[in-house]
Symmetry: C2
DNA sequence: TGCGCTGGTGTACCCGGTACACTATGTTTC
DNA sequence: GAAACATAGTGTACCGGGTACACCAGCGCA
């Protein structure tokens, strides 16, 4: 590796990073993907995956790349969340972080630590470890956004695999809202959305009546309700 | 002024700016504050007010400062919008811009060009001039956000002075939504919000019955409905 | 065959949103 | 001072979406 040559500017530039809050549902709980930092600052502390923006890379691409490099996670629903830039949020230098949040069904997520990450693991949102930087703030903001979007978008479908049963869909909402929902009302609502259609297949699992499978009509799109 | 000394980093850093989309209501129309750029690139072209983040300055402070420096506008409702960072959006160097949007009653806005701005002026949103950089995208995003927030927040009150009549409030909504609203239904809705209270004063203006004045109960706060 | 488990279905009520028209009270004019 | 004018201010009926609520269906297994 050649010696790094310095990059100079007439006025000081902050560093720009992206950080990604990836949510999934595992073990009937909302969980978040964290990495254990391998390098200072906060070496050994859990943190959101993320890292420095390449100079010729778009923000969205940076988020996707850092997520893949550090955790092995790819092809998830990724959406810009908010930009955190408080002076002093990184002890090394001025860092402005463009935060993203991501959703994916647990099935699609083959997590493996890579790169700067000493480890990568899932944590229940209600049992997070101590976090590096201002990542607790970022996570709180991401969680708030996720809950708000439940109301007026089909974002929750991103937590399910391609085909799913109405029971599974209801479980997603119940877990996210931390509330029990009436089965009949939920099914009426879900079918009235006109966002899902029966595949014609059924899933038999366990000693009971098989469940019809559904898929999104508008594949892989988050649409806005009302 | 001493010769600028260079600031050097081991890897290239993008520049970070803020850009601010300030909306107000003037002449019964939604208007946007633009400056005419005094320097290249895009010298002479209209653009959003904004500029480079100081290295020891928070993002919100940067937005407020740049707005005041370039247009004289202060003490407005300011909210982070979205971060635009596409490669090539600025021909000089890589620039990541944290966009804000702002709202204020026309009365409070004494606009005067300053600094890098050759001129500052209001434009109707439906008659914008050609714009520098990707500022047309930023404005479209800001406008979308503003309309979306009408539904579920009291953000529109930021376009009114401290006291106002229900007729004025209705005009705000009618202008923003570009639709006529039923007076009785609107008043029922507005009063049921429990966000405003009568001051006890009236305003007499024109040859007709005077209108009761109202103010926000929760002074200067944007609250979320539902 | 009967028990356990999840899948699947309909009806009544309530409340918020909407459609809709007239009276009240001030100023101006003749 | 009477009439014209302009905006302020008010109530009721209907509709639709959201909510509460209980039973039968079909599969596996003991």
């Amino acid at each position: 590796m050649s010696a790094p040559k310095p990059h100079c500017y007439s006025h000081p530039h902050p560093a720009v990073t992206t950080d990604i809050a990836v949510f999934t549902l595992r073990e009937d709980a909302l969980q978040l993907l964290l990495i254990r930092r391998g390098n200072p600052p906060f070496a050994g502390t859990w943190a959101l995956p993320g890292g420095f923006l390449d100079i010729d890379e778009d923000l969205d691409a940076c988020a996707a790349r850092e997520l893949a490099e550090e955790t092995g996670v790819q092809d998830v629903y990724l959406e810009q969340l908010y930009t955190f830039g408080t002076v002093g949020r990184d002890p090394r230098e001025r860092v402005v972080s463009v935060a993203y949040f991501a959703l994916a069904p647990a099935e699609r997520l083959a997590v493996q630590a890579g790169d700067d990450a000493a480890d990568a693991a899932w944590f229940r949102l209600d049992a997070l470890p101590a976090l590096a930087f201002d990542h607790a703030d970022i996570i709180a903001t991401a969680h708030r956004r996720l809950l708000a979007k439940l109301d007026y978008s089909t974002i929750a479908f991103q937590l399910l695999p391609e085909t799913f049963t109405l029971g599974e869909l209801q479980q997603v909402y119940e877990t996210l809202l931390d509330a029990e929902l009436d089965k009949r009302n939920f099914r009426k609502w879900a079918l009235a959305l006109a966002q899902i259609e029966a595949t014609g297949e059924v899933r038999r699992r366990g000693s009971h009546r098989p469940a019809r499978l559904y898929r999104l009509t508008d594949r892989e799109r988050v649409t806005y309700l009302r």
